[in-house]
Subunit: 438 residues, 2 copies
């Protein structure tokens, strides 16, 4: 038998769902192209031999914690608790690295941040009137979850100077006036994907106040916080949250490694049940995930647990090299853009870009339409891949923007990729200008 | 802030969702009770030292396959393909052990069978009229998925002699007459959880014919197939499927270990898209899972991949000891039931049970109402845990039945657990009889 598209979930036909497939196919069809599209970590930080050392360190930690052989075996091999078994280590790491003091019972270990987003949205948005507000442009993984679950998304546009909390209040009020319920506001406050922005401390306080006034939950997604350090460091929204307004979604994808698929949700909100029982939102999220994946791989939890144990529950200590790589790559990316398209030239062509001081991403604004066909031309004729920004906009937007990432390439490859990119941008903008004048 | 239950998904309040929590809490509160509730594998088959050997075997396999160091590192640490990276090994194992010849491209590696069920139902049932038919009683994990996704479930009752394919046709026709669309029929054809039944070969052929006539997909969930061997072996529905009517959901939870969270879906149906493109259903399932979990832990895939490599892609070869344990435990369970409640006595009391020849589960029918309060009394006063069968019935049913499992206990503990259970059953049935007569 065969199936027709209308028999399957309509989400499958949406561009946001197909974007990753398109990018992967474009990369596979142009193996010689250098990719500024991928936001994955740099390969050189990984060594297969580490896996065994991490596993051994975690087992020793369990022995030191007083567990017997049969308990350790059960922990490593059996189904295990749906909330996970390394919440205490994660809570210690959040305290050490981020000054977040979290009850381990309020933590659910998930299959990456992605499952965290999925189960959180599934718990919160279920009535026809429930909508999700998102900072726009928005991380594509959250837009995909909303598509799959059929949850309407309402954008709160980031302005020239980043997200304005007053705009969140305004959009929330509009949504309510429309008879709908804004259940939560989703954002990546530090090194945002895709905009690269980091929200300063005063705006974080203001956003928390807005959440209180507008009776909103904040969904804070924080994969890149570890990249800020020293005077640039800004506390997470969750660290500033005194009223349980924030659900914090974290991941070890960028600080440890993505293939482990270990993330977590901090959800310390109390839930009042019809029978008088009170639980934590984390308990309810664990219940949902018990029917989605049952739990996070025990061996993955052991590897990440071992990494945490070996680093005395502080990833900042072991991540100085990573932070240095990503920072110098970000600076290199901006330098190479500037060399390839010096200020006078880019002003003349109508090209500009953001200059974030942390994260992986830079957004380039161009005077021509950016779509998948253009990406293929860039790959074929210039040997460089990037991401159309329109993927990141719920509804319209981003049609004259592209995103480039500094994370996955070596400095040498990055410099070459940006040389190719600036040639492509110059040629394309010049051609448009000629056409327009002609 | 706090949340109230009506702000969260209504699925969270449903008994089917809360049953595992209730059973876990009952076990935690009665640590001295022996558990006939758990369907997990026997701990003695697990050794932490194996993990490293499996990992090393998988790495060597990648080297032997011609992959370079950087490719291997990327495979073990990076995000990876959403469909997984051990499909070829799984396809070989299915060919060797089950005579199933599957194109690896039709396989999606999932986070256990649970994610397989989740993404399959999410793909197939999305319109208000779409319903899922299930063999009833039904595995609780599938009922939970349907609750979460809001998909109506229509039971096809198993009769005294197991599932009758004609009943499937009858119920499907009824559903259609009602203006609804039966999208698929879900069953565990071998060693069913909870009924313990195995569908004989002629009924399998008949069910495939019914699927064709009624234009139904069959969702075959097969965690226990490895327990049948020799003359008892029955081919899977997928092995008999010549018309792509079967979506096959598998797992390594019982043959390897549950904590790995590695399962798979075989979905070789062609999908015709609006733009003329043709894909496999497996491609569409991979797209959905890219927004649920991104992919299955790379280290888990490596461990399972290593187990497969070390066993020459035949789990039957390495599972003879497991099969022997589960078979002798199942026979022991039935023997001990018979010793504790000999035929005359149980006839007198109105107690009976199923006598499956494979799988983990036996269903006991009793002349009294079986609920959670009774389970707590059984734990407190008799020191034995089991599962109320009502959990497994969509709608009404199973209120005078309980499920016991032979899998997780040593023979000594199993015998003691059944002694406690038969005392509990005898006492409770006797009390009911006295009350009724009184």
């Amino acid at each position: 038998m065969h199936l027709t598209h209308d028999q399957l979930s309509p989400a499958l036909a949406r561009p946001v769902m197909r974007s990753a497939v398109f990018l992967n196919e474009a990369a596979a069809q142009h193996p010689e192209a250098l990719s500024l599209a991928a936001g994955r970590p740099f390969d050189d930080f990984f060594d297969p031999a580490d896996l065994v050392d991490h596993l051994n360190a975690f087992e020793q930690h369990l022995v030191d914690s007083g567990l017997g052989r049969s308990e350790i075996t059960r922990l490593l091999f059996q189904y295990g608790r749906t909330a996970g078994h390394i919440q205490d280590l994660i809570a210690s790491q959040l305290a050490n690295d981020e000054g977040m003091h979290i009850d381990p019972a309020a933590l659910v270990v998930t299959v990456g941040a992605q499952e965290g987003m999925f189960i959180t949205l599934q718990a919160l948005c279920h009535r026809p009137q429930d909508v999700l507000l998102v900072a726009s442009p928005c991380y594509i993984g959250m837009l995909g979850v909303a598509e799959l679950l059929g949850v309407p998304v309402v954008p709160v546009p980031e302005g020239e100077h980043g997200l304005d909390p007053t705009e969140v209040a305004r959009v929330a009020a509009e949504v309510r006036a429309d008879g709908r319920t804004p259940r939560a506001f989703y954002l990546v406050p530090t090194g945002s994907n895709p905009s690269g922005r980091t929200m300063p401390l005063p705006q974080r306080h203001r956003l928390l106040a807005v959440a209180e006034e507008a009776d909103l939950l904040l969904l804070e997604d924080d994969p890149y916080g570890f990249l800020t350090d020293g005077p640039e460091w800004v506390p997470t929204l969750k660290a500033l949250d005194t009223a349980q307004r924030v659900i914090h979604i974290g991941t070890f994808a960028k600080t440890c490694y993505p293939g482990a698929r270990v993330g977590y949700v901090v959800a310390d909100q109390r839930v009042h049940h019809a029978d008088g029982r009170i639980s934590l939102l984390s308990d309810e999220l664990a219940l949902i995930r018990s029917m989605v994946t049952v739990n996070t791989s025990a061996v993955s939890q052991a590897v990440i647990g071992g990494m945490l144990v070996r680093a005395d529950c502080s990833l900042r200590k072991i991540n100085t090299e990573r932070v240095a790589h990503y920072r110098s790559n970000l600076a290199l990316l901006l330098d190479c853009l500037d060399q390839g398209l010096p200020e006078a030239r880019r002003l003349d062509l109508g090209i500009s870009w953001t200059a974030p001081d942390t994260g992986f991403f830079v957004v380039i604004r161009v005077p021509f339409s950016v779509d998948e066909a253009l990406l293929i031309r860039s790959a074929e004729e210039y040997g460089v891949l990037w991401t159309p920004m329109s993927y990141f906009y719920p509804g319209e937007g981003g049609t004259e923007e592209l995103r480039v990432s500094c994370s996955a390439l070596s400095p040498t490859d990055l410099a070459e990729a940006v040389r190719r990119l600036t040639r492509f941008l110059d040629d394309t903008a010049s051609a448009v200008r000629t056409t327009t004048r002609g």
